[in-house]
Amino acid sequence: MPENEFFAAMGDKIGKTIEKKLRYYFEVKNEDLHDVVNYIFNTMGCRLSTATATELYGGIEVLYHFSHDATGTYYCPRIIMKDKKKPQMKSITPIVRGAEWIEREMAEMFGIDFDGHPRKEPLLTRNNPTVEKLPLRLRRIS
């Protein structure tokens, strides 16, 4: 079973895990992110569906969604950033080229700084001076 192999190989890099039918949500520390993503994407051959950023009371979380197409299983590494003013985390674009747009979108919507991203530019609100900055955090900041 690929999921057993995965959890055995990663060992203590995986934090709190929520297991549902065909879905695994697990917490990963920022410094372990590259190892975990490298294993999921290159060794297991998963496909990056997308990533979701959410603002919570205790910080900002980013949840990557990797789909293992052969079994229909989702692996979702979760990063939690405590600092709401200047959230910062590693970019996975050097490993997964397809993550470029996804991370750019999260950066402009939530103000997350992705370390090592090749192109730190807004995606959807580029050349649009009138729109409010960080639109998805508006209600919670004020």
């Binding site: 065909l22 879905r23 979701t52 080229r97 397809g98």
Partner: protein
């Protein structure tokens, strides 16, 4: 001497989170690089959805895109059902798959028409759209509207299919099958179409995997990914169908993959309709409450995998609703597939991903960076090339 020019293309283009403005860098006639400026159609669905109740947000996601206007609701209700593992009645599952597959047929026919229009084959356009009309008529029979059907609910569907009208719909499917076989034959036999599409805008298998392409774009490059077989929810576990995968990755393969998919879709529709004539029962489970948690739903839209993620806190509103349309993953493949091809082929390569090009092709024009009086119509360029090939063949 090589001279590098920038060509702005756009900016008018419809769709949520979709590319509309391209800055094509050309050296002579060869495309060197493409930069995209998107956000012209950004309407902030994720923001609005967080203020709406669950039932309202299904109505809202239907308005993300008018062409895949049932794929988003299906993915959305899958996400809601995933939070609590809600089951749906058997009859509802068949109706969901029927509507989803009909939408695939109408969307692919629409793309055929526009692809034909781009390369100067207006006959293909008129044909494809003519045979698309009966499909819209079927939607009218099932849901009462031509587009935006409003069929999906959490725990089932909104409207039932009248068994008395099933023979009528079967006849329409037979007609579509017939005409599709004809269109595939034309595409395979026609030398002009072959020379315009074969070997153009190749997306290699490696690029498709690295850029996480989905849907027909990936399947034409030999990546076997289809949500319908990977995670068979609704009626997809109970019906028989194949997933066509082709190896070459050029525009011709994308054309053929879509044509074969239409035929598979008519097969699924027929099986669903046969079942709907016999299976009785309710169409909607009453869902009163959705508990706190995370739900993840997906569905194979005509263009690829639609992805919805819901985070709920036990109230009647989501605290986060993430939407990922398939073109969001497919559009970055332009850069990989357009590099090194002539400008006249760029338009059909851009269109081959099916990014909803309906209304914009007329605003495309070529302008030199120094604002010289050098203006070429890209569409005209593409058509002239077809004209040249045609006259060469007829000689």
């Amino acid at each position: 001497m090589s001279m590098v020019n920038n060509i702005p293309v756009g900016p008018f283009h419809p769709l949520l989170e979709e590319a509309e403005y391209f800055n094509i860098v050309v050296d002579g006639e060869t495309v060197v690089d493409i930069d995209m400026d998107i956000g012209w159609m950004h309407r902030g669905h994720e923001f609005i959805s967080e203020q709406k109740s669950f039932t309202q947000s299904i109505y809202l996601v239907e308005r993300i895109c008018g062409i895949c206007s049932t794929s988003h609701p299906i993915a959305c209700v899958h996400a809601f059902e995933d939070v609590d593992n809600i089951e749906i009645p058997e009859r509802a599952a068949y109706i969901r798959s029927l509507v989803g597959e009909l939408e695939r047929i109408h969307s692919h026919l629409l793309w055929f028409g526009l692809a034909g229009h781009f390369i100067g084959y207006d006959t293909v356009w008129m044909w494809a759209w003519k045979y698309r009309e009966p499909i819209l008529q079927m939607f009218e029979i099932i849901s009462g509207n031509r587009n935006h059907y409003g069929m999906m609910r959490i725990g089932g569907v909104a409207k039932d299919v009248d068994p008395a009208r099933i023979p009528e719909m079967m006849k329409i499917l037979d007609m579509v099958d017939d005409k599709m076989n004809m269109i595939i034959k034309v595409a395979k036999d026609d030398p002009v179409l072959r020379s315009r599409l074969k070997g153009v805008g190749v997306l290699t298998h490696k690029d498709a995997v690295e850029l996480c392409a989905v849907g027909p774009t990936a399947r034409a490059s030999g990546v076997n990914t289809d949500v319908r077989q990977d995670e068979p929810n609704d009626a997809y576990g109970w019906v028989k169908f194949d997933v066509p995968v082709l190896p070459n990755g050029d525009v011709y393969d994308k054309f053929v993959v879509r044509a074969l998919e239409i035929i598979e879709s008519t097969k699924i529709c027929r099986q669903c309709l046969e079942k709907l004539a016999t299976v009785k029962g309710p169409i909607l489970n009453n869902v009163k409450h959705i508990s706190a948690g995370e739900g993840l739903g997906r569905y194979e839209a005509p263009r690829g995998e639609v992805f919805h993620f819901i985070k709920t806190d036990g109230t009647n509103r989501p605290i986060r609703h993430k939407v990922r349309a398939p073109s969001f993953n497919n559009i970055p493949t332009y850069v990989a597939s357009c590099k090194g091809i002539p400008l006249a082929d760029a338009l059909i390569t851009l269109a081959s991903v099916d990014p909803c090009y309906c209304c914009t092709e007329r605003s495309l024009k070529v302008v030199d960076i120094n604002r010289d009086p050098f203006q070429i119509d890209l569409l005209k360029l593409s058509r002239e090339k077809t004209q040249q090939i045609r006259s060469k063949i007829h000689e």
